[in-house]
Symmetry: C2
Subunit: 347 residues, 2 copies
């Protein structure tokens, strides 16, 4: 612990909570009472309410070797906002639970919370509660987000229909490639305190991994165009995995075109450098936090006009299954090779 750093035990649980939650802004009319009671009080008389939650564990979901606490806080918040946008909603409140081991100082947690607050400010969300505790090992972050959506306008995974267009926002695989790059530099730095990681020409990949954003703009653009997706979900585990979720929930099949999958040139260069299959990375790399959605064929022109949206294929009848059509016209059945944390060895 460096000089001027403070042990958390000096503040205690309530002191730490008071410090972290001092002067929390209140942005949303639906926030009636926030931190400081057994529960927060919210009011949503006219809309439906969305609730989502994400658990992030040190050593599984993040690594402080290259993740600064402030960026981690930001990311922990936006992964939840992304889920609310994926329902066609707007995030309004979060609760933040932290489990903190002795390794962390008050200043570390200040920075983490600063990142959470920054994300909340950018996306207009109120912090309304949480729980704070010691942990025996590592940092635990559990955030629950509450949002709203006009009544009966929530977009689920189960509404995709035969001939619907399949759309994705942004580009895919960059966050995964960023992770590979960070892991490579981490390995290279082992035992070399003077090591300076080299991210030149790959800043976008690092940014996508360490400082992702949630696609609020897409929900707003769809609303502006008067388009309600038939199905939508965010891409956190990889395009293949998410598409299969939609096919299963909507009882349909799909075809996507390899050549239509949006990939940034930095992602392509990195895949080449690492000798990895680029399309596999774009299909199965997680943490892009882009939105995947389907719209009726009749919305083609309007959806095609939205900047940053790419039509990558279409929904089929269920018996056709889910497949990718390669550049040479071959159909390859899609498989969910999404990351299975349960197969990782316990450390």
């Amino acid at each position: 612990m460096a000089e001027k750093e403070t042990e958390i035990s000096r503040l205690g649980e309530f002191g730490l909570i008071d410090r972290l939650t001092a002067d929390l802004p209140k942005t949303n009319a639906s926030t009636i009472r926030a931190v400081g009671d057994d529960a927060a009080v919210l009011r949503y008389p006219d809309t439906d309410i969305l609730v989502t939650t994400d658990l992030l564990l040190e050593g599984v979901h993040f690594d402080f070797t290259y993740m600064q606490p402030k960026l981690l806080g930001y990311k922990a918040a936006i992964v939840n906002f992304s889920d609310i946008y994926a329902m066609n909603g707007t995030p309004r409140q979060i609760t933040v639970s932290l489990g903190i081991s002795k390794r962390f100082t008050v200043e570390h947690i200040d920075q983490l919370y600063e990142g959470i607050r920054a994300a909340c400010e950018v996306y207009g969300v109120d912090i309304v509660g949480g729980d704070t505790s010691a942990s025996r090992q590592g940092l635990v972050i559990s955030i629950t987000c509450i949002g709203d959506v006009a009544r009966d306008r929530a977009v689920t995974r189960s509404g995709a229909k035969d001939t619907d267009l399949i759309c994705v926002t942004g580009d895919l695989g960059a966050a995964y490639m960023g992770l590979q790059l960070l892991e490579r530099e981490k390995a290279a730095s082992a035992g070399r305190p003077d090591f300076v990681p080299d991210f030149a020409g790959k800043e976008y990949l690092v940014e996508r991994q360490l400082h992702p954003q949630a696609r609020r703009d897409i929900v707003e653009a769809l609303a502006k165009e008067g388009i309600t997706p038939t199905a939508m979900m965010d891409i956190s585990d990889g395009l293949s995995s998410e598409l299969l979720h939609i096919c299963k929930a909507s009882q349909c099949g799909c075809r996507i075109y390899e050549e239509r999958i949006p990939i940034d040139y930095q992602t392509a260069i990195m895949a080449e450098e690492l000798n990895m299959n680029l399309v596999t990375a774009a299909l199965n790399g997680g943490e892009d936090y882009e939105q995947l959605f389907t719209v009726p064929l009749t919305d083609h022109d309007r959806v095609a006009a939205i900047p940053g949206v790419r039509i990558i294929g279409y929904i089929t009848k269920p018996d056709l299954g889910a497949a990718m059509v390669t550049r040479d016209g071959t159909e390859i059945p899609m498989q969910a090779q999404g990351w299975n944390a349960f197969t990782e060895p316990e450390k």
Copy 2:
């Protein structure tokens, strides 16, 4: 791992979630869509909404040496329900996030979830979402509970007023004494596989620690009597700590009478056996999940008539501070000696 037990990696994250959330009942009209999308969809047009969350970490909040997974699941759920009742509300939905290390099998998690489901059935709550992940060490349980309360009828910690009566439900200190007993038997059993713990005559203490209930009955009884508490909170960290929270939030002082603090005879016997101060245990022992509330003096007769409620003192002006009046009439300033997990050594 015993025969017939299943490694979680065999199911993977989605397989495990499907298994745990199969055939979830839907009890509440406010539950529009539950598990299976990026977020749950709820609808509360006429009431205020309450949100609370609790994080439970292995080695900090529970110990599998004496806590069975099913009871742990039950307890993890009811500690959240208790927070909703403490706001004068009714719990309606929970999300359940689990971080699971390699040590656990599918069967362990089945039992844990069975306990959560059992608590939900008893208290009429729907499971609407969650997150499931591997953890590097131990079990992490993060539950968020959503409830409702008639508009503007939430009871916070900040409404207590001079001359209000201070009331508690049930009895205090038993869960803490149960923990001492379980820890004593755990220590005695070390290295003795044939050891049989002796809980004779102390079953109530063990029950209070391992299988606590939330005081739904009190919220219902208060409503039936037409009493709205001026302040309320549940006793999870100990009576002293909670009373000081109410005094701080309500800007008041208080007097409670030592002789009025409700204590079960098993708690008293155990304190004697362990040579501990009984009143200290009742004031500072946590995890009772009883309700502490204040009512106007004019409600005296009606509140006194509710079974299981004890009037233990009264609210004062702030300059009188918070104190306990002992049996011999001495005033002892109250201190929050509630458990500070942050001072525990990291193991």
